[in-house]
């Protein structure tokens, strides 16, 4: 399947073969962006419980303390950390900073992302 920017070729986005590190960075940026936008809308709708008073909101909070919701929350944090750190690289490179070192920047920032996700996971599941 040719890798042309055509709507009908969207399954190619999910094919990991013959990809460079930069393309993985690009795909990670796009997938996390879509996931975070969906979460943003759901988050705003869920926060509507605040307008219905303490019983509605605290009942909702009790529900999301369920481990399954916590796992979903950790995935959101993971998407946010990956998108944010990868985004910092893109912003710096966009202004001509670190363009020659963008591969090593990507690897270092993603390693930092893994550490951040592990830290939040530990805080949420081991302490929370």
């Amino acid at each position: 399947m040719p890798n042309q920017p055509e709507a009908k070729n969207w399954p190619r986005w999910f094919d990991p073969r013959s990809r460079s590190l930069g393309t993985f960075g690009f795909i990670l940026n796009r997938i996390t962006a879509l996931a975070l936008t969906l979460y943003l809308i759901l988050h705003l709708i869920a926060l509507g419980q605040l307008a219905q008073g303490p019983a509605a909101y605290d009942g909702f909070i009790a529900l999301v303390k369920n481990p399954l919701f916590k796992l979903g929350e950790l995935l959101v944090i993971a998407a946010g950390v990956i998108h944010g750190l990868n985004g910092i690289r893109i912003a710096l490179n966009s202004f001509g900073i670190g363009v020659r070192r963008q591969r090593s920047m990507f690897v270092i920032l993603m390693a930092l992302a893994v550490l951040c996700i592990a830290f939040f996971g530990w805080k949420m599941f081991m302490e929370g």
């Binding site: 605040l50 916590k70 944010g84 893109i90 912003a91």
Partner: protein
Amino acid sequence: MEGSLTPKRLEGSGRWLIKIIAGLFIVVFLGIHFVVNHLVAPGGLLTYADVVAYYQNPVIVVMEVAFLVVVITHAFLGVRSILLDLNPTAWVLRAANVLLVIVGAAAVIYGAWLALTIANVKI
């Protein structure tokens, strides 16, 4: 490395720059949001009383509404960028522009109303 390093032809340098700058603001706001909501709060989540107490400070209300505006701007410009990856027709792009502006404005108005509602709860 290729990637979204340069503005696309249809994205426009202005919208591209707004997206990048909004993204940098989000890193700061989201850092505060993560710390307050997931590290400081017992059990990682604020109760209703905690949220109301937090919003009694007008600086927090302004910061959270500004955060919402920046997030919505970045997210919806980003969705438009992804749509541009698919080479949409002019009609589809126009329709998407209108839809994104309407949904984005509605989200900001709703979020600001919610923040002000919570800020006006008496404790």
